[in-house]
């Protein structure tokens, strides 16, 4: 027989625990210098052009949840005819909460045929992955995807437990 009172208090306790965890998660940039690092990486790599970057044309194929951040499959495709007159010349991939925000900077051209690249990336935790693609006329397009990461890649076992 379950004591209804005990059951209730257990539920209340669990709910408050959950709320507490949510509150911790909601703290912006807790214990990470993510925003500053992301800003610096964007400033160094994209420069003032990022202010005029338009959203779209990019497809980020990334799982919504990764158990481990050590190796997460990522595929990026940019909509482009890839002709000498109109092509993607650069794809830069960033993760805004990684200790090093830049993940990869790809240079390609019309000979690629399709503007796409696939690789496996490391993620330090739940965060946004952003892609900036530069066209041959200099304009930028951007897209962002959120990914939940259960165990980050940057903590060593010693730090994790």
């Amino acid at each position: 027989m379950t004591d209804p009172l005990l059951h209730l208090s257990r539920r209340t306790a669990l709910t408050s625990l959950g709320l507490g965890a949510l509150a911790v998660m909601a703290l912006p940039g807790a214990a990470q210098a993510g925003d500053a690092e992301m800003e610096a990486a964007l400033r160094d790599l994209i420069g003032p052009a990022r202010a005029s970057a338009k959203k779209g044309r990019i497809l980020i194929d990334l799982p919504a949840l990764a158990e481990s951040g050590n190796s997460v499959p990522l595929k990026v495709s940019v909509e482009s005819p890839m002709t000498p007159a109109d092509h993607v010349k650069r794809i830069a991939i960033f993760a805004d909460r990684n200790p090093r925000a830049l993940i990869m900077d790809v240079t390609l051209g019309p000979r690629a045929g399709r503007a796409e690249v696939g690789t496996n990336i490391r993620l330090s935790g739940t965060q946004n992955v952003s892609v900036y693609a530069q066209m041959n006329d200099g304009t930028y397009w951007t897209e962002t995807r959120n990914i939940q990461v259960t165990i980050g890649a940057c903590d060593s076992l010693l730090l994790r437990f």
């Binding site: 090093r100 990869m104 045929g113 940057c154 010693l158």
Partner: protein, 107 residues
């Protein structure tokens, strides 16, 4: 550092066809944030650049950062223009490099 590489290039292709190329190299990609049991960080040691050349002309280049997983894998495409050699080059932090090549017959 001699490292094992694996590449995939189609043996034959029609002219103008888009070929998918894949390349992987066995490399730890030490990100510099990993701590050993003695409390010291393992220094950064990564492949910093990957280049693909088609008959000597560069068709793809990637700057890799510690945010790339160990044994870096890359999949990308190139248009078949002529028969010849497709060459993959990985540049290591320690100054060494690794090359793998395959031939493709374009009809």
């Amino acid at each position: 550092m001699a490292a094992a590489t694996r590449i995939r290039v189609p043996a034959t292709a029609r002219r103008g066809e888009i070929m998918e190329l894949r390349a992987i190299i066995m490399h730890p990609m030490e990100n510099g944030f990993r701590m050993e049991t003695n409390g010291e960080y393992v220094p950064v040691h990564i492949i910093h650049t990957f280049v693909c050349r088609y008959n000597g002309a560069e068709v793809f280049r990637a700057r890799l950062e510690p945010g790339i997983a160990a044994n870096p894998y890359l999949a990308f495409t190139t248009r078949a223009t002529e028969s010849g050699t497709i060459e993959f080059i990985w540049l290591d932090d320690d100054g060494t490099f690794e090359v793998a090549a395959a031939t493709v017959e374009v009809t």
